[in-house]
């Protein structure tokens, strides 16, 4: 099931602009390897779900998968063949705002080869370039 907020204060949001790099959520915190975004994007809940399923084909039974982003942002749109005006459209889907550097997924308990395979499968579901990063020991 695609991720979605349980409770929101407002149904619709302004679009905003994705500026700069990630200044939080850009390090591997829970697993051994992570999938890091290299481009800014709105990653939809469907894409996250598709990537989760793709990665889980490898991870399941061997390790753990951590999803580090959540689609908080409602994205609205007007229906097809509708004249302009008449106010803002209804929310169509939810997306996560991803900045370059954001760690999207993490895996734990897998060898490097298997982790690479799992994260590579997941990366193909996202509209952005991604790279695999390993956990950096805390000093």
């Amino acid at each position: 099931m695609a991720l979605m907020p349980k409770r929101v204060k407002y149904r619709k949001q302004q679009r905003g602009r994705v500026k700069g790099n990630a200044h939080r959520g850009h390090t591997v915190e829970f697993g051994d390897f992570g999938l890091q975004a290299l481009d800014p994007a709105w990653v939809t809940a469907r894409q996250i779900e598709a990537a989760r399923i793709a990665a889980n084909q490898i991870v399941k039974g061997e390790g753990k998968l951590f999803i580090r982003i959540f689609p908080h942002k409602p994205v609205s749109g007007l229906p097809a063949e509708t004249r302009m005006g008449k106010g803002k459209g209804e929310p169509e889907y939810y997306a996560a705002v991803v900045r370059p550097g954001t760690v999207i997924f993490e895996v734990q308990g897998l060898t490097e080869d298997r982790a690479k395979m799992a994260l590579n499968r997941a990366a193909h579901k996202f509209p952005i370039r991604c790279k695999m990063v390993r956990r950096r020991p805390k000093l």
């Binding site: 979605m4 929101v8 149904r11 850009h26 051994d32 039974g61 308990g109 950096r136």
Partner: protein
């Protein structure tokens, strides 16, 4: 852990703009503090620092002008993509005094219980240890080959190098092989009904009449 010499230079530039120019010139800003003495602002050639990091050394002899100071790499700041070091923190150490430090744990081998459907849960990725600065291990190896489902390795079972102790509770679990619970299947079954649902709107409790309008 061996101690390498790292050439550092005193730094007068401070503030984000000056430091940005410094980085553009191939230097990494750093700071040296500790042992109740005045902190020193330093700069290090990026290549020198990268070489030190590649070797995995935490203890280093900082050569500043004609003085040499034993120091421990305390912190590193990286850019968002984790590719470039932005800043390094060094702390002065007394070579005769024990220090407390976190050492990365390396799990060796594939657990026996994994073949039987178990999940290897790495509870710790770093281990806090106490030792003399000259005896800091690069990493602590934990063999997990013999672990079966339901078994775990505790801190008391770790083989630490000589002169290294762990201040953690000896009963702390380091790694465990647990049984997988098939929770996902049940969640997946409930998908179609929940798909169309909208999130609940948060309304202030003293104004219940707004709930109907917004929802």
């Amino acid at each position: 852990m061996s101690m390498n010499k790292l050439q550092v230079h005193a730094r007068s530039e401070r503030g984000s703009n000056a430091v940005r120019r410094l980085r553009a010139g191939g230097f990494v800003p750093a700071v040296l503090y500790g042992l109740h003495r005045e902190p020193h602002l330093l700069k290090i050639r990026g290549d020198d620092l990268a070489g030190m990091l590649r070797e995995g050394n935490r203890m280093v002899d900082l050569a500043l002008d004609d003085q040499v100071q034993a120091a421990l790499l305390k912190d590193l700041q990286f850019d968002s993509l984790g590719e470039r070091v932005l800043h390094a923190d060094f702390v002065r150490v007394d070579l005769a005094e024990t220090l407390r430090i976190k050492i990365p744990i390396r799990y060796v081998g594939v657990a026996k219980g994994q073949a039987a459907g178990g999940l290897v849960d790495h509870r710790l990725s770093e281990l806090e240890v106490e030792c003399l600065p000259g005896r800091i291990p690069e990493q602590i190896e934990v063999p997990v080959r013999d672990l079966d489902v339901g078994q775990s390795i505790h801190v008391r079972e770790l083989h630490l190098p000589e002169g290294v102790t762990c201040p953690l509770n000896p009963e702390t679990v380091v790694v465990a092989v647990t049984v997988m619970v098939e929770k996902v299947e049940k969640e997946a079954a409930a998908v179609p009904e929940a798909e169309a649902a909208e999130p609940e709107i948060i309304v202030r409790k003293d104004r219940p009449d707004e709930e109907g309008q917004k929802g």
